[in-house]
Amino acid sequence: MKPLRQGPPTKSARAAAGEVQRLTRELSLEAYRRMVRIRRFEEEAMRRAMAGEFSGMHSSSGHEAAIVGACLALRDDDYITGTHRSHGHPIGKGADLKPLMAELYGKATGICKGRGGSMHLADRTVGIIGESAIVGGGMPLATGAGLSIQVRGTDQVSLCFFGDGAANQGTFGESLNLSAIWKLPVIFFCENNLYAISTPVAQSHGQPHIALRASGYGMPGVIVDGQDLEEVYAATVVAVSRARKGEGPTLIEAKTYRFEEHCLNLQVPIPYRTPQELEHHKSERDPLVLHRREMLESGIADTQIDAIEREVAAEVAGAVTFARQSPWPDPHEVYDYLFSNPIHYPPEPAP
């Protein structure tokens, strides 16, 4: 296979290389819909949380092209593991918004029946096998899904979302090594938003490009512009294709940026990002704006794009209504889902 490019990408370089799998018009619109679904879901959830309707959240705003570009390269039956910044992954894979919003509200109709919440919006119906709020915790799980695929002999793949912070956990090295030994069909997809809460990559990584570590584990690594949907998609298509053919894992590092603070209810007593930096990314590097511009340049009518915006706005509003009107979970059912069979330990009644 063609060696994957390493180092910061540029648009002209990617076009010149001719290595880009272009999105069809249909996929381009679908990608935009998914990105808008993530953004509007997050914006509305932020408003509701700030109004005190439920507790805090970790917004994915700014990560949309990285998430959707990766998910778009997957099939419905492929697996995903995610992180505490968990809203974007199920939406990017096509999940229904209602049970996700209801979960934020802690309602019985939530995707996790009110037992998971904002950091754990795992929706199994779209292939998600965990959104881990233990940083790096999902990496071995994704590896195990790859092992399972290999043992069962299917051509599924497993995609592991993780952040730049997780790259410094032991599970990163252990998982990449285990996957490389047996050429497991795993795509390790790093959403590198440049900060582990407040600690910049420059202060926590011996060298700033996480994908460069791949060769040390015996797998290809590729760096992509995480704000460029088509570039993320193209790189993930290559990695997925490798994995399906039994050629093993790939490490993709998407350089992205988080538009909000780490967490809604975590105060930032001392600024760690300059207003200029934040403003630059929001005004020049917003993945939704960039993709909309590309679509317009490729001849897609703005009426089509606006229709998506309207439909998503209605969908998000419907999800909030659904969540608000849903019942609370019954405290007597607090033990439900602890075990596959109803065993209570210690043997005490529910409150």
Partner: protein, 328 residues
């Protein structure tokens, strides 16, 4: 009382071979069962390589948290892995994946996910291995909801409980006890012979006092019962077998009969299995108690290297006899 045998056919098995045979039978029965562990090709899993290959027998690098989590990921996606963590002191390295992922994922996803996995860990102790290879860490994991925990003490119970663990849809920690490896008995060859998780076993019936034994303490508890019988004291010996979920029914029923209890546990005293059994008995069986409950455990000190220091730390038949006599 031996476990229920559903077929007349039996075979003499050591405790160690019971582990191998349980795995072989379950791997033959269900192709979703795989074995993951370090050096399994030359140690415990070696005999299985006659029947299975590297596809289902995964010899792994020393990455306990990684390969344990890998097993959990495989369990989430259609396999039923057995993860051999070998020496129980190493389980701590995998504790993050066991506690934060395996134990929590079914609950945290509102039942969307299922984690049918077995974690095997062998307690090595009383063999001059010093503090980092001698732990009996059951109580740590009893404090994590979502895990089932068994600690069999006979070959039949080991085979039956390990097979039950593989068939269970929840994560099950199976603690082995090295001091029992060579013990032999007749074990059912019925491929569907299982011992149910959650049931203690009365290994010896008696009326005057209940000895609750945990894991490798059983031979000592039975020896103590023999010695006491010779002095006219009738002892009921309960082998707990499953630590979570605790069989409170059997414990309280026995306490109702004898009114006295000594709990023998080779884990450290503070927050031990014995502590939990004692708490349940005193909270729920207080009316039956005719004397204080006694715990015979290992003091809260590191396991030292020298045999002269180590040996006296563990429960012995003599210590058990003394504890029983102190409450008669």
């Amino acid at each position: 009382m031996s476990p229920p045998v559903t077929s007349a056919a039996v075979r003499e098995l050591t405790y160690l071979n019971a582990i191998v045979e349980a795995q072989r039978e379950e791997m033959l029965r269900d192709e979703r069962v795989i074995l993951i562990g370090e050096n399994i090709d030359i140690y415990g899993g070696a005999p299985l390589f006659d029947t299975f290959d590297g596809k289902r027998l995964r010899n792994v690098p020393i990455s306990e948290n990684g390969f344990t989590g890998m097993g959990i990921g495989a369990a989430l996606t259609g396999l039923r892995p057995i993860v051999d963590l070998t020496i129980a002191s190493f389980v701590y390295l995998a504790a993050d994946q066991i506690i934060n992922q395996a134990a929590k994922l079914r609950y945290m996803t509102g039942g969307q996910l299922s984690v049918p996995i077995v974690f095997r860990a062998c307690t090595y102790y009383n063999i001059c291995n010093a503090a980092q290879h001698s732990d009996r860490p059951y109580p740590f994991f009893m404090n994590a909801p979502g895990l089932k925990i068994v600690a069999p003490a006979t070959p039949a119970d080991m085979k039956g409980l390990l097979k039950a663990a593989v068939r269970d849809d929840d994560p099950v920690l199976v603690f082995e006890d090295m001091s029992l490896w060579a013990r032999k008995e007749s074990v059912s060859t019925d491929p569907d012979f299982v011992v149910p998780i959650g049931k203690a076993d009365i290994k010896r019936a008696g009326n005057d006092v209940t000895i609750v034994s945990i894991a490798g303490c059983l031979p000592k508890a039975l020896a103590a019962a023999d010695a006491l019988q010779a002095q006219g004291i009738s002892v009921e010996v309960i082998d707990l077998r499953t630590l979570v979920p605790l069989d409170t029914e059997t414990l309280l029923k026995s306490l109702g009969k004898t009114g006295r209890a000594v709990i023998v546990d080779n884990s450290h005293r503070t927050g031990s299995v014995a502590s939990e059994v004692s708490a349940v008995m005193s909270e729920e069986g207080f009316e039956s108690l005719r004397a204080p409950i006694r715990r015979v455990t290992v003091p809260a000190v590191q396991i030292p290297y020298s045999a002269a220091l180590e040996k006296p730390l563990y429960p012995s038949a003599e210590r058990i006899v003394a504890a029983v006599k102190s409450i008669l």
